[in-house]
Symmetry: C2
């Protein structure tokens, strides 16, 4: 069988990895795929660098459209990133009848519906294993490995930068700003780390997983996104004393019954029990926990970024396409795991819920005056709101205010409650004269 | 599209799970597969029980061959187990042109070559996700998710019974025999637990994984198999003091260079660093770590047995077949990940190595006379054999022998060495008059 010819759009970190791994393991990949898979054309604005990576036998151009226009190219791999030119090129490649592989989570989380519709109309495949959790084959696991299951929730450490920062903050007792600089120096965080530390990158990935898990369209605009920039070292320490670790999780949870049917789609720092495996995922590593009705809990762990781990996922997609491209499109694995014509109906039945409808438990830290009756007042307000308390940690007074009044931290773990209810309770607690600073609230998930 | 019709051979624990999950999640599964998947016929010797599970709308027979002969059945699911009648029925189903799904690791590890050859000749699929690690989609991950990679090694906790026993021995400080009885009472161990506790079940699974990872045929007869029946509570304790846990691992490791090209295929109790995620997989849970050149380390965790977790894997195979059955057989995913015609050549290039060629590190426990010079003699013998020492733990004398001579345990961790070399050194150490009891040797893997 003649080799599959691949055109790369962009040959930076990931593109180089794809090129190098395809070369190094070509024999092994051919033995699996049943045919060769060869990069025969590369487009990159930096033609010199591209030529240095790809060598003499590969056609290197600066114009991505020349790759798309090349009739010999079977699959176009988009590694440019972002929503801009990448979107135009992916749609043009589809229009030209090319199968597309992309690692671009931002593009799919925001414009996936349009892209998959265009691909379905042309009968081409769009594969994106590399878009979520790098080298971990989590898309394949969700889309094919767990097809028997009604998936209940997914919770993942899906951003290596923030997990590295949180691991360092805990290990070394350092503050966010200090660790961010270290992460930038080590290459774990970009010069502009906004998308990572504000949770946007994780939300892109959680959005894609929510679609595959629940059979709904991608709806990034409805995701709740909270990053780690406001996280204090003190909360990491208190959490630890209570048996928890704080991780930035991307969560997609199916909610049915109790009058609310929908999907919680949220990214935020989360307390999780220290004894859970995922709580022990350190540094830049990624892991995703999936809870499903038949299989129970499964977990997938590995490198979420980097040149060759990401390339591993891109090439797995290339092999899948090499195998399935010749099959009747009606029999291929659907882009988002469910048949496209069923997504809209599911969206109506399972809307993405507003944050006020989240149901979760909470960690609260209140800076309070160290005087009799404070705890009673605070817990009384919570009880009045119907929020039950799981644990209380009251610190010894550690600071004397200007007028001689001792202050202390009061830490409360709650049981599950509606977020709207909690928000109202926080407003009430905040209004107490004995509560001396803005209340810190971090969500908590038991993940069991 | 008309529903896929499935015939079950055997409707015990797993069969009931398959039936129930297909019923419960039929809508969701249809949305994924693009067509319905229905069990329309069941064969079980216990026709009454089968009818009670399957209900009135399913044809129940006692003769499995009636299912195979039914022209309406597209896929035969073999859930009988064992090498006997199951083998005959699988081959007959293939001969009748049926696709086959099986959870039967023993059958595939021993007779896989014959079965896959028959299936290839008939152009039918044989899928077996449920045969390894129950509900964890590890076969799919290895066969499709990691196709870009040269896999270096796999190490898995792939037998829940033994992991439960080892977890309990460590947690409660109990001996093997006591915990085995508890495991039997709880249903975690069978009345005849031989296949589990002697490592045979894990070796079946490791054999299948070795084939998929390295592109060699299944060669169960060449696997090294050592169970947990000889494991003493003392070794679990000493291991813990040294920062290790003992797990029964199924290991498949590629060895190249240094004059030895081949595959280590082995199941045995193994010390692993307590800080590794897989060391913290407790109870009856399973986990598999895969080390591969592009992606690095990945880990897959979940339930390795049970009715619905196993059914989850069986149904994932059914959906795969529903999708791919119509595709040209030349484009399907190969049974063992690599194109069948390449396996024999790979077997010649990568033979399964004899135990004497294993390279690993070791935990040694020697019962020695508590007198000057013993440690020097023992370490001298190891040094003479070229075996370097990583750590020594010498206990205080804890027992007085008949003639008033104090005894103690001497624990040694070595660096990596050839197993043949270690065996010779143990013979020499055993011959020392100051070594008072048979030396305990447990292999150690750093898994990094």
């Amino acid at each position: 069988m003649k080799p599959i010819q691949v055109g790369l759009l962009g040959i930076g970190t990931v593109g180089s990895g794809v090129f190098n791994v395809l070369q190094r393991n070509q024999e092994e990949i051919r033995r699996r795929a049943g045919r060769g898979i060869e990069v025969t054309m590369v487009a990159d604005l930096d033609v010199e660098r591209a030529r240095a990576v790809a060598g003499e036998h590969v056609q290197v151009v600066s114009d991505a459209r020349a790759v798309i226009a090349n009739p010999d190219i079977d699959i176009v791999v988009e590694l440019i990133g972002g929503y801009g030119i990448a979107k135009a090129l992916v749609l043009e490649a589809i229009a030209a009848g090319k199968h597309v592989v992309t690692a671009n989570k931002a593009l799919l989380a925001v414009h996936g519906t349009e892209i998959f519709a265009a691909a379905a109309a042309k009968g081409v495949m769009v594969a994106f294993e590399a878009a979520v959790a790098g080298g971990i084959p989590i898309i394949k696991a969700l889309r094919e490995g767990l097809t028997a299951n009604r998936i209940q929730w997914i919770a993942g450490i899906i951003n290596g930068t923030t997990n590295f920062i949180l691991s360092e903050m805990r290990d070394k007792g350092l503050d966010f700003d200090v660790v961010l600089k270290e992460a930038q120096a080590l290459g774990y965080a970009e010069a502009d780390p906004t998308f990572d530390i504000e949770g946007v990158d994780a939300a892109h990935k959680a959005t894609i997983m929510s679609a595959i898990a629940f059979g709904i369209p991608v709806q990034f605009d409805k995701a709740y996104v909270e990053g780690i920039t406001q996280l204090a070292g003190a909360d990491i320490k208190y959490a630890e004393q209570l048996g928890y670790r704080i991780k930035l999780l991307g969560i997609a949870k199916r909610r049915t019954g109790e009058g609310v049917d929908g999907v919680e789609l949220r990214v935020h720092p989360t307390l999780i029990p220290a004894k859970r495996l995922i709580a022990n995922v350190e540094g830049a590593m990624n892991a995703v926990v999936v809870q499903a009705d038949a299989v129970g809990t499964t977990l997938y762990y590995g490198k979420g970024a980097g040149s060759e781990p990401t390339a591993s996922a891109v090439i797995a997609d290339l092999v899948d396409i090499a195998r399935l491209a010749s099959a009747d499109p009606g029999h291929r694995v659907p882009y988002l795991a469910f048949q496209p014509h069923t997504l809209d109906q599911a969206q109506a039945a399972l809307p993405v819920l507003p944050a006020s409808e989240f149901v979760t438990s909470y960690y609260l830290r209140l800076r309070v005056a160290d005087q009799a009756g404070v705890l009673t007042k605070v817990t009384g307000l919570l009880a009045g709101a119907g929020i039950s308390i799981d644990a209380v940690l009251q610190r010894e007074a550690d600071e004397v205010g200007g007028e001689g009044a001792a202050q202390t931290d009061l830490i409360i773990l709650t049981h599950e409650t509606r977020e709207g209810t909690m928000n109202d309770a926080i407003v009430q607690m905040q209004a107490l004269p004995t509560v001396l600073a803005p209340i810190t609230r971090i969500r908590k998930e038991e993940l069991n």
